[in-house]
Symmetry: C2
Subunit: 240 residues, 2 copies
DNA sequence: AAGTTCAGATCGTCC
DNA sequence: GGACGATGTGAACTT
């Protein structure tokens, strides 16, 4: 890892074109050759960058560039595309290098997979008497997050008692989640062993447009309270 | 801006929980107080971070932590949420600070807005005689990128001449874009003043599955050549 | 290798 | 101020 603080101008060309005027910035060069250009604000996203695999070629400035104060020109080229980042280095204020070694990696907790596991253990949140058929219920167009069986005659749709519920789980549900669940339901309801299958969209938050579309398509919405669900960790409470 | 190279362990708690074991990393502290923790690989995204507005509080280690080699504990707290980042600093290998000033900012070219503007000026790419009704044509479920009027009797659908074309513009069109345009068309075709409305998916690149679905739904696909469209800046050439 | 899905997204814009 | 769409998304996993 090499970190520089330097005045520089940057040009990116590739999927789009982007230009950074001359200013003082932080440049990080990682061990894999990837480059990040950060300003002193904004977000965690660099102003410009090049993803690995890529290579850095350092060249002296042209006579004209040298007259403008350019000391070095870095050309960062992507290995598998035409993407290119050109950094015109002017004054270098700091320049440190260090071998960091391989990072042991990030351990996460609380993502969608946990929501799915918790709801699978607490299917009664979908209604008393519901039982889990299985998580990641396979279909031809991909797995349904949860397939649940309702108690006998729990509800009736078009004169036929609904016996199965397909659940799509999201941290934040948008209109895309409704489309996804709709595709699953269309397919599942062609299976006479399952049909009619009702749909439930379960999420920590549901966008208003998603809720509107879901209701319009007869899909129920269930807002999940992650903290409350995590609090219910008594194994006895899972069995009803 | 302050940049450190240091061995550290990091814990994040907030929307989820994440833990970073002890290792050597780069820590950036920006002028607005935001913090980024980078490893020597991965992408431009930090392993952990805290977005502004936030505050950093530095405290001495507990006796137990000190025995483990912790020199300082940084507690980074978000101003408007419970999110918290705790950095246990062990050995500090580099520590540099510099005032970068305000960045003049990034200038972008070639994003979807440019494509929309160019196609609005070159609607003849949709067919000779087509004229622009308006960009961002409003509907109840959001604006259609372009609404275009065809020349009289340009084509016939179900015995009725098509007079309007709704255009969805993307840099890269995926199946989502087809779904989006389908929702617009369903709505627009309920309006007797507009119906029948044909759909066109215009993009620099169109995913094979998106093209298949579009064709299946009677939506035309148009691949846009950004460089060529940008080259057409002669007003005379627009009128054919 | 290509497609699908998730992620602590951030950012601008428009209502 | 909330909602919604775009972004040079990246990374893991499946097919």
């Amino acid at each position: 890892m090499r970190v520089l603080v330097a005045t520089c101008a940057v040009d990116y060309s590739g999927r789009l074109s982007a230009h950074l005027p001359l200013a003082t910035r932080v440049i990080m060069v990682k061990a894999d050759g990837s480059v990040l250009v950060h300003s002193d604000g904004g977000s965690y996203k660099p102003l410009n960058w090049m993803s690995p695999p890529c290579t850095v070629r350092v060249t002296p400035p042209s006579v004209e560039q040298a007259a403008d104060g350019v000391r070095e020109v870095w050309t960062v080229s992507a290995a598998k595309s035409e993407d290119q980042l050109v950094i015109a280095l002017h004054e270098v204020l700091h320049d440190v290098s260090h071998d960091l070694g391989v990072d042991p990696g990030l351990v996460k907790d609380g993502v969608e997979a946990h929501l799915q596991k918790l709801l699978a253990e607490q299917v009664q949140l979908l209604g008393a008497g519901h039982t889990l058929v299985r998580r990641e219920f396979p279909t031809a167009i991909g797995p349904v997050d949860l397939m649940v069986r309702t108690p006998g005659g729990a509800s009736v749709e078009a004169g036929v008692p609904v016996r199965h519920v397909a659940v799509e789980i999201k941290r934040r549900a948008t209109i895309d989640a409704v489309e996804q669940l709709t595709r699953y339901l269309e397919l599942l309801n062609r299976d006479p062993l399952l049909a009619p299958v009702r749909g439930v969209l379960a999420a920590q938050s549901i966008a208003p447009q998603a809720r509107t579309l879901a209701v319009d398509r007869g899909i129920a919405c269930l807002v999940l309270d992650y903290d409350a669900m995590r609090g219910v960790d008594d194994p006895d409470s899972r069995l009803f």
